[in-house]
């Protein structure tokens, strides 16, 4: 390919056709799900009836965002090897979720991760703190997704930014409001299958001229752009920076509310465990394929052409689709990217609604006493509030570079939600004060340090220097949150919480049946 001849951004018939098929299919699913969504348990946890394999697809669907699909492919296309650093970082959180979090979470909680932390501690302060931690993560993640959605859809379909936000917000609202977790789960499954299938097909097509050998493709890229594309570049500057980013990526996954919430949709701990295994396989495979797509784009489309369409390289995978599969295939991949955004936003909104309705309204304002009808109503009102908020935030941050907000969401998740979750299930002496102060310390320190970092001070505010040289605060904030949680717990012991640990331990392993009636049903 030479020059920039692309139909990207032109209103494409095939893209719209594929897109309409996806929307009608998912709305039909939503209609079916709406008839099955009569209780709060069905709304927030699909009644606990999702199988391990289905949840594996849905977890992968929640996690594989357009940012990772288009962003990593773009990073690989424009700088080669460095994209792999992100891929690896985003994957290694999953084993941690499997070993430390998934099963205890399933056995101890109902709809949110705050359930687990609040199990043996004082409900109100812990729920407020955990909801703040959860909602902070969800807000930053939502801003990144909504702004990304507006820009992408503008570039893919030539729609106005505001129109794009309105479409994403409305369709997502329909899924969540009427179909709850059942519809959201199936939207994730459909999206995950489409994205995995589409990306694989795209990778295969780009390997055809190279005899299906990825190494031949990589060699061609090295021949064109120099051998440094196969070696680490500028992304990681110092070991400190590398470890700091690594900590946030690795432990952030285990603190993302929309991911954690998915473990309540399966019937038991065994299914929770197998679902993470499937998800890790799908996501790992996807990242390896994305690496091929990035190199494929740099060879088949060319770096100059990619960066002339979008400076960040985000259109690399789509340009590749057009180069190797023509306009119909571009239409298909664009529709898949759109579906990806929709599904991730729906998952985030549902988990935010759970924090607002289940943790704050029912848990704090109603002291845990609210009837089924009220709970469901509040859950739906919370969904509407969050959908409006998502669209509002998208408008507010229009034109801003918000790529750093995903990193910020991971940093906050790794330094507030993850430490309290882990301490509450593994440490007998953990207390209410310890949990609240660990969350506050984690959220505040992560926000302040990112504010002081070059990401905000230099890149965003255009100051000549930053107060802090560290781009990602993980190396300070993750240990800080653990230390604060432990020290405060030791200074102010809570004998009642310690006494209840035996029950936590029992239920964590044996499940809910013999401690209390099962949460579902």
């Amino acid at each position: 390919m030479n020059g920039v001849q692309t139909s990207l951004g032109a209103t494409s018939g095939t893209a719209i056709a594929f897109f309409l098929v996806f929307i009608s299919a998912t709305l039909a699913i939503t209609g079916w799900a709406a008839r099955k969504t009569k209780t709060t348990s069905e709304f927030f946890a699909a009644g606990g009836n999702v199988s391990g394999l289905q949840n594996g697809f849905a977890l992968a669907g929640d996690y594989m965002s357009a940012a990772s699909f288009l962003g990593i492919a773009g990073l690989v296309a424009t700088s080669g090897f460095d994209g792999l650093i992100y891929s690896v970082g985003w994957l290694v959180g999953w084993p941690v979720v499997t070993f430390l979090i998934a099963e205890p979470l399933r056995n101890l909680g109902k709809y949110t991760f705050a359930d687990v932390v609040a199990y043996r501690l004082k409900k109100k302060p812990v729920r407020i703190a955990a909801a703040i931690g959860g909602l902070t993560v969800i807000c930053f993640y939502l801003i990144a997704q909504m702004v990304g959605a507006g820009n992408l859809i503008k570039m893919m379909f030539g729609l106005q930014y505001e129109t794009a936000l309105l479409i994403v917000g409305t369709v997502m609202l329909l899924y969540v409001l009427f179909g709850g977790m059942i519809a959201t789960t199936w939207v994730q499954i459909v999206k995950a299958v489409l994205l995995l299938g589409g990306a694989t097909l795209l990778a295969l097509l780009s390997l055809v001229p190279f005899g299906m050998n990825p190494l031949a493709l990589f060699a061609k890229a090295a021949e064109t752009y120099g051998p440094e594309v196969l070696a680490p570049g500028k992304l990681v500057s110092s070991p400190l920076e590398a470890v700091s980013l690594g900590l946030a990526l690795m432990f952030g996954t285990a603190g993302l509310p929309h991911i954690l919430m998915r473990f309540y949709t399966v019937p038991d701990a065994k299914a929770a465990r197998s679902s993470v295994f499937y998800a890790t396989g799908f996501i790992g495979f996807f990242y390896l394929v994305t690496f091929i797509l990035g190199f494929g784009a740099s060879v088949h489309v060319g770096r100059a052409a990619i960066t002339s369409v979008d400076k960040g390289g985000n259109m690399a995978a789509l340009l590749l689709a057009e180069a190797v599969g023509g306009r119909p295939f571009l239409g298909f991949i664009s529709a898949v990217a759109f579906a990806t955004i929709l599904a991730v936003v729906a998952g985030l909104t549902l988990s935010g609604a759970a924090a607002l309705a289940h943790d704050l309204w029912v848990g704090v304002i109603r002291h845990g006493q609210a009837d089924e009808k009220e709970q469901l109503k509040v859950a739906r009102v919370a969904t509407i509030v969050l959908a409006l908020m998502a669209m509002g935030l998208g408008l507010l941050f229009k034109g801003q570079n918000v790529a750093f907000m995903v990193g910020l969401a991971f940093a906050v998740a790794a330094s507030s939600n993850f430490p309290v979750l882990l301490l509450s299930i593994t440490w007998r002496k953990f207390t209410t004060r310890g949990a609240v102060s660990a969350i506050v310390a984690g959220v505040v320190s992560a926000l302040v340090l990112i504010w002081m970092s070059p990401t905000i001070q230099v890149d965003l505010l255009k100051n000549p220097t930053a107060m802090l040289s560290l781009k990602n605060p993980g190396i300070i904030t993750v240990p800080l949150s653990f230390v604060v949680g432990i020290v405060v717990s030791l200074l102010f012991p809570e004998p009642e919480a310690e006494a209840k640990y035996a029950e936590v331990e029992r239920r964590m392993h044996l499940g809910a049946e013999d401690a209390e009636p099962a949460p579902a049903e």
Partner: protein, 96 residues
């Protein structure tokens, strides 16, 4: 007696979870530190189109999945058996 059994099952799970978490962290932070410190080393070509860094990075991804698989198969074969036995016992004992 039952408590003791539970403690033993819990300890076995903790042990394997800790070892596998440590192994994952070792693999990942090892890779990331090599990226920071050993750029020329990772850029070394093993064969045409494949650098050491690409091999190691892909290996960390594959290993993460393999570790997850090791845990799942261990839990399915050993942990579940004990948990079911304990849960069954306590259910009868509790009269539910």
């Amino acid at each position: 007696m039952n408590e003791k059994d539970l403690r033993r099952v819990a300890a076995a799970r903790d042990r394997i979870a800790r070892v596998l978490t440590a192994a994952t962290m070792f693999a990942y932070f090892g890779f990331i530190l090599l990226v920071a410190w050993g750029k020329p080393l990772l850029g070394h070509l093993l064969t045409s189109g494949l650098s050491l860094g690409m091999l190691l990075g892909s290996l960390v991804i594959v290993l993460s999945w393999v570790f997850t698989g090791i845990y799942v198969s261990w839990a399915n074969r050993h942990y579940d058996v004990h948990v079911e036995r304990l849960a069954g016992k306590s259910k009868r004992g509790g009269g539910t």
